[in-house]
Amino acid sequence: MLKFEQVTKRYPETGDVLRNVSFHLKPGEITFLTGHSGAGKSTILKLIALMERCTRGEIVLDGQKLSTVNERQVPYVRRKMGFIFQDYKLLQSRTVFDNVALPLVIEGYGHHEISRRVRAALDKVGLLGKEKKFPLGLSGGEQQRVGIARAVVNKPPLIIADEPTGNLDPELSAEIMLLFEQFQNVGVTTLIASHDISLIERMHHRVLRLDHGQLVES
């Protein structure tokens, strides 16, 4: 599903932040990406999302080499993954419904289909009935669940999350993690960057550990 082959990322200012990173995620697998702050976790996710390009090596997503993807194709590749962010990145001026619908609107779905899928996604994250609310009227845990609903609404085969529980207390974090396990059951591949060791250890999933840009455990 997702393969990193000897990936190196160099920033002119900071030098190599990733060095020869290789790993392979199989379909339907939940994987944690962990390591100290500045280890390069976010950088790996940005490379997958084509927010950055790797300096050396190759990333293969669903059989496609990301180095061959040009700027015009980037949006179409991004539609194959759902992103979840630490700060949720919701549109504050739009309702929960509109936020979750965004990926579907972008792909040009008809509004019946959009309505049906948004409801299904909100149901999965336990927010059915809050469609008309605005993000600021929700708790942090609820906002993150809106973010998750948005990430899964167009049924992408890959979900990537950058510190999804970074702003939440342990109890809410555990709930969010349970949600990811539900998606795993329908075959979604999930990569979660997190430095919350205790949470990770409780979950019994595969762990990739980064140290100063190098993979030390996989």
Binding site: R72, R79, E107, G108, H112, E113, N154
Partner: protein
């Protein structure tokens, strides 16, 4: 479609959509969705303008004034052109006779002029007639009554044949009458008509230049408005990009905002100019009544109204489009 073909998974999602939607062809559904998207962007961008009435009014106000200046000046020139166009036919020659020439002598002279084949009409204005006319128009009635002797000369108005448009021939005809012993001095309208026409054609050039500059202003103001709008909504743009929006999709609502700004400014400018012309009308028609001319103030025609709206809309859209083309590409999620 070519893009999507590269990703087998995507196709699977689409097939999934097809099955869940009504039978009757997903192509139509997609087309409807596409149309809905445009309609939605069109109206939500208008709603966006109404949601920020202060900012929108400021922008549209500035644009409307620029457009009104250009189109108002244009309308003034059009009216002046109409005015001088009407004057073209009146290549009238006025012969002011010497003071000692009597009325009878004047009539004989007029008859001799009538025999000239280049002349269409001859009109004698007696001293009394001239005095009466002068009293009516000048408002110096009482002052003139107190004069002992009528100081006005007899005037013979000569209207050359319409066919006589050649300036050389007219001038020679004029010189001919001027030499007559009865004539004190002669005047032909030709000179000031030509001068007026020269002024109008300069004014027209000025209108074109002014319009070009103001069109550029509309272009830049609209572009800058959209630039600010993108800046204000950069968070939204970045999020949309992250969930797979193409640049085209992101640009669409901004482009419609540009469309509305241009269109509404055009409409506002139309009203500003028309309102000013209405104020001008009564005073201009007074003036033309005085000259007994067939002059009616021209307002925007349908075609001109359409051109005005189309031009202002197009300029704003192009300005927006250029800014969008540069800016949306640059905004990247970091």
């Amino acid at each position: 479609m070519k893009q999507i073909d590269k990703y087998p998974h995507k196709i699977q999602v689409k097939q999934d959509t097809r099955q869940t939607q009504k039978a009757g062809g997903s192509f139509t559904d997609r087309l409807i969705a596409w149309r809905d998207q445009h309609a939605q962007a069109l109206f939500s961008s208008l709603g966006g303008l109404f949601a920020k009435p202060f900012t929108s009014t400021m922008t549209i106000g500035v644009l409307a004034i620029a457009i009104a200046l250009a189109s108002g000046f244009y309308l003034v020139v059009v009216n002046l052109q109409q005015l001088t166009g009407g004057l073209e036919a009146s290549n009238q020659i006025s012969l002011f006779l010497r003071d000692e020439i009597s009325e009878t002598r004047a009539k004989q002279f007029a008859d001799s002029i009538r025999k000239n084949t280049d002349v269409q009409e001859v009109n004698v204005i007696s001293k009394q007639q001239a005095m009466q006319e002068f009293k009516n128009f000048s408002g110096f009635g009482d002052a003139i009554d107190s004069l002992e002797k009528n100081p006005l000369p007899i005037v013979i108005e000569v209207l050359p044949k319409d066919a006589l448009v050649d300036k050389e021939k007219l001038t020679s005809l004029f010189e001919n009458f001027k030499k007559a012993t009865e004539v004190d001095f002669a005047q032909i309208d030709l000179e000031w008509v030509a001068r007026l026409q020269a002024i109008v054609s300069s004014a027209r050039l000025a209108a074109i230049l002014l319009s070009t500059v103001l069109a550029m202003a509309v272009f830049f103001i609209a572009g800058n408005t959209i630039r600010l709008e993108i800046h204000n909504r950069r968070e939204e743009v970045i999020i949309a990009k992250l969930v797979g929006a193409t640049n085209r999709f992101i640009q669409r609502p901004f482009l419609y905002t540009g469309f509305w700004i241009g269109f509404l400014s055009g409409v506002a400018a139309w009203f500003i100019v028309t309102f000013m012309m209405l104020i001008l009308r009564s005073s201009v028609e007074n003036l033309s009544g005085l000259y007994a001319s067939e002059f009616h103030l021209l307002f925007f025609s349908y075609f001109e109204t359409l051109t005005l709206l189309a031009t202002s809309t197009l300029l704003a859209v192009i300005g927006s489009w250029l800014v969008l083309h540069i800016q949306v590409k640059q905004l990247k999620p970091e």
